[in-house]
């Protein structure tokens, strides 16, 4: 079996690298990087970034969990977010609080659809907003964007090309035989495009042995993401699970926040100088109930919080808890007397971030990226 270096050497010598998979090393339009993290399950924003300055918070959450650093004596970050403190102080991290999509019915799966499809009303088109962004940017190379997951994420899906790559990609057996797979799939409407992606994975797997964190898990995902973004890839997305804390939240939420802290700090470390040109957006489908339920957890709610990170924030809205207007936590201020009231559409912030990152016009934001979403007045984030 051919090893990695021999393989790269062989394809380079044959000039076959691009012809065999459709990949070229052409420069992308922009050197700015975007990482979209979907926190699946519904993060409890009131525990992650606790509004300790709101007089009703202590009543709602008498058993408040351990805190780390505070902002303006009004918000306190959860203890498990402590590793992010240096980033916050360097203005490379921000939180957008009390935001949501317009969805109000608290189903994980419909709420994730709103976040990933990006359209204002519930629709069933099978394309995600990142894919439409790729189209708009004129991304035609498969390695311009990457869905780093073992399945596939709706936020990335659509007609524009992108890599779907998992950390489980040791395709050594096939590396000498790709021409047979190409022959097998040629002209097949579904498998031919899949094959292009598989070959790209194969090439990535040849380089995986040098990753700081090979193998599986969030660290391996971040290593792979960082490596690709240092090369031709400009946009990447992956998911972090484990936010659906209906019971025993004290023990469970910390683990998921650990994973988020770990992901962001590791991306910064492994991206090196590229971090200065990077924006990370981490968002969850909804927040959770303002009160704890009877089993030491929280149920599905509405408004939540999104995280922004990256060197690009330092000259913009870094080091802040961004909030249009704190909605309050008294019963009459909560949505249906149970959920944090949304004060803004989270996709407005994501949209304006794309405007700053890639020059997407407000018209395109409201018609193509987030169809039907009124992006309103400009928000300068980066």
């Amino acid at each position: 079996m051919m090893n990695r270096r021999n393989f790269l050497h062989a394809v380079a010598a044959a000039g076959a690298y691009s012809s065999m998979s459709g990949i070229t090393f052409a420069a992308a339009n922009s050197d700015k990087r975007l990482i979209v993290i979907i926190q699946r399950g519904g993060m409890d924003s009131l525990d992650a970034v606790q509004p300790i300055g709101d007089p009703d918070f202590a009543t709602l959450r008498p058993m408040g969990s351990a805190k780390s650093f505070t902002v303006d004596n009004y918000f306190a970050f959860h203890e498990a977010l402590t590793p992010l403190k240096p980033l916050f102080e360097a203005r490379e991290l921000s939180v957008i609080h009390s935001v949501s999509t317009p969805y109000r019915n608290r189903s994980h799966f419909e709420a994730q659809d709103y976040l990933e499809r990006g359209a204002d009303a519930h629709d069933t088109t099978d394309t995600g907003w990142v894919n439409r962004l790729i189209t708009l940017m004129g991304g035609t190379k498969i390695n311009f964007a990457a869905d780093v997951s073992s399945g596939s994420q709706l936020v990335m899906r659509g007609p524009a090309p992108y890599l779907n790559i998992s950390t489980n990609n040791d395709l050594g057996f096939w590396s000498d035989s790709t021409q047979f797979l190409e022959m097998l799939y040629k002209g097949e409407k579904d498998f031919a495009p899949v094959m292009a992606g598989v070959e790209a994975n194969m090439q990535q797997s040849m380089m995986a042995e040098d990753d700081q964190h090979p193998g599986k898990g969030i660290n391996a995902t971040c290593s792979l993401t960082a490596r690709m973004l240092k090369e031709e890839c400009r946009i990447a997305s992956f998911s972090i699970y484990g936010w659906d804390t209906h019971d025993n939240q004290q023990n469970r939420l910390g683990k998921s926040l650990d994973a988020l802290s770990e992901a962001i700090t590791q991306l910064k470390q492994e991206l090196g100088p590229v971090w200065a040109n990077t924006l990370v957006i981490a968002a969850s489908e909804f927040g959770r109930t303002a009160r704890f339920n009877g089993t030491g957890g929280t149920d599905h709610g509405t408004a939540g919080a999104a995280f922004l990170a990256g060197g690009l924030l330092a000259s913009g809205q870094g080091g802040k808890v961004i909030n249009k207007k704190w909605p309050g936590l008294s019963d009459d201020k909560l949505l249906e007397a149970r959920d944090l009231m949304p004060t803004d559409d989270v996709r407005r912030y994501m949209g304006w971030a794309l405007a700053d990152l890639y020059g997407i016009s407000p018209g395109d934001l409201s018609s193509k990226i987030f169809p039907g979403v009124d992006v309103g007045t400009r928000i300068k984030l980066i």
Binding site: G151, N164, H246
Partner: protein, 454 residues
């Protein structure tokens, strides 16, 4: 086998039958019975885990100055749970690989995914496999109501969707301990297991149903799911326009609610739509209508519904509308040719490690679809787009050489014709004829689009 037999075997089974004959209608006559061995094993494991947890706590207390005592106990326990899990995954794959009852095993996988588990903690890892054997398999040929009640009030589901500590706030226990309920199981039963997200319920109905479900929990000493009136919320609850329960909490209350949901017209539509999409593919309105109407008129008699599914003209249509999921792909691949039984031995490579087998456990760990570990209670997708991603296909390509290396020697062109029948494309045949090795040629058959579709 004629063309119609191949279509049936791919659509309702795992491809070509081992004995040359596949008759799913016959399987409906021999529905599986309760599995008392698995039931005993399940209870034994629950009691064992309870005792071990208690011992771990004791060890910690007795050795306050020795934090390693608890760590050692935990390590031992984790190894035992991994061993249980490996055995269960191995047994589940082997049962499907060796059985003539392909439709029964496909149905089992379908329902286990409908009432999906995400085995993320020790308790669920140790019990999820037995949940499928004790709860799903013996109940999937009777009424949907029976399957529903057994699935929701199973030890695994009670733990997975957090019913275990959900207590009526005005119950005796709730008053005494200032405890209450959560909405997890109530919401997901409505959205994912019965009426569906558009089935006609709102937030108040979710709260009412969550209260109705209180009282049911796993009794750790017996390993059984029991109803304890002192934990159940008293009073009448209104769900979807109907009242349930009364002043005195009773076992019957939750069962009345399950009966109401099983009989609800939205449930008939939701369940039959899912069956049609899973087995035949999307966009079969006539099939869905026929299934829905049978579900309603038979009061959720699942065998009657399966009969319509198996005999409807839409089910004889050409293959190719669906992608096989990873489990069906793997079992079909392992059945495609003779494999030396020695290759299927489950054993520990090192004394300290839980047992493994690269064909069964190793495959299920490395394909995208993990058994009893769906990423959410929604289970694994029936959408072909999900299974058509490079990550999913890439993971299958990684397993293929590991499988074909154990195949009995067979001329690749003969193998392709035997396994794929009328679906074999000329393109596949011409490709394998050019392959540089027999192993590669056999692997290409398993990698072909027609092998990955149904």
């Amino acid at each position: 086998m004629n063309d119609a037999d191949y279509i049936k075997a791919f659509r309702f089974g795992f491809g070509i039958p081992l004995n040359g004959k596949f008759d799913p209608m016959v399987e409906l006559e021999i529905s599986p019975k309760a599995n008392s061995e698995a039931e005993g094993e399940l209870v034994g494991r629950i009691i064992y885990l309870g005792e071990q947890n208690a011992m771990a706590k004791e060890a910690k207390m007795a050795n306050a100055d020795n934090p390693d005592a608890k760590k050692t106990k935990n390590k031992e326990l984790n190894k035992q749970v991994k061993t249980y899990h490996a055995q269960d995954v191995h047994n589940a794959v082997m049962a499907a690989v060796t059985s003539d009852q392909m439709f029964t095993n496909r149905l089992q996988a379908f329902w286990a995914n409908h009432f999906a588990l995400g085995a993320t903690n020790r308790f669920l890892k140790a019990t999820a496999g037995l949940y499928e054997a004790t709860t799903i398999r013996p109940n999937m040929f009777g009424s949907f109501y029976d399957l529903l009640v057994n699935a929701e009030l199973s030890t695994a589901m009670v733990y997975y969707l957090n019913l275990q500590n959900s207590i009526g706030p005005n119950s005796k226990s709730g008053n005494r301990n200032k405890k209450g309920f959560n909405e997890n199981l109530g919401r997901e039963i409505l959205e994912l297991h019965t009426v569906g997200v558009d089935g006609g319920y709102n937030q108040d109905d979710i709260v009412a149903f969550s209260k109705i479900l209180t009282g049911w929990h796993v009794e750790k000493d017996s390993g059984q799911v029991v109803f304890t009136p002192g934990r159940a919320e008293p009073g009448t609850k209104f769900m979807m326009g109907k009242s349930f329960g009364g002043a005195k909490p009773q076992e019957q209350e939750a069962k009345d609610a399950f009966r109401f949901l099983a009989d609800h017209p939205s449930t008939a539509r939701f369940i039959t739509h899912k069956l049609a999409v899973h087995f035949v593919g999307p966009n079969n309105p006539e099939l869905e209508k026929a299934l829905e109407s049978e579900f309603k008129s038979s009061k959720g008699n699942l065998t009657a519904v399966y009969k319509v599914l198996l005999t409807h003209p839409a089910s004889a249509a050409p293959l190719g509308k669906n992608m096989r999921n990873d489990f069906v792909f793997l079992v079909s691949a392992l059945r495609a040719n003779k494999i030396d039984p020695k290759a299927f031995e489950l054993k520990s490579r090192e004394e300290d490690k839980p047992p493994n087998n690269p064909l069964t456990v190793g495959s299920m760990e490395n394909l995208t679809q993990k058994l009893w570990a769906a990423p959410s209670p929604k289970g694994w997708s029936d959408d072909s787009n999900f299974w058509l991603s490079p990550s999913v296909i890439g993971a299958r390509l990684i397993r293929i050489p590991i499988i074909v290396t154990h195949f009995e020697d067979e001329e690749p062109a003969i193998f392709a014709a035997r396994v794929l029948g009328p679906n074999l494309r000329p393109q596949t045949l011409s490709t394998i004829k050019l392959a540089s090795s027999r192993q590669l040629a056999l692997g290409l058959v398993l990698a072909s689009p027609e092998f990955n579709r149904s």
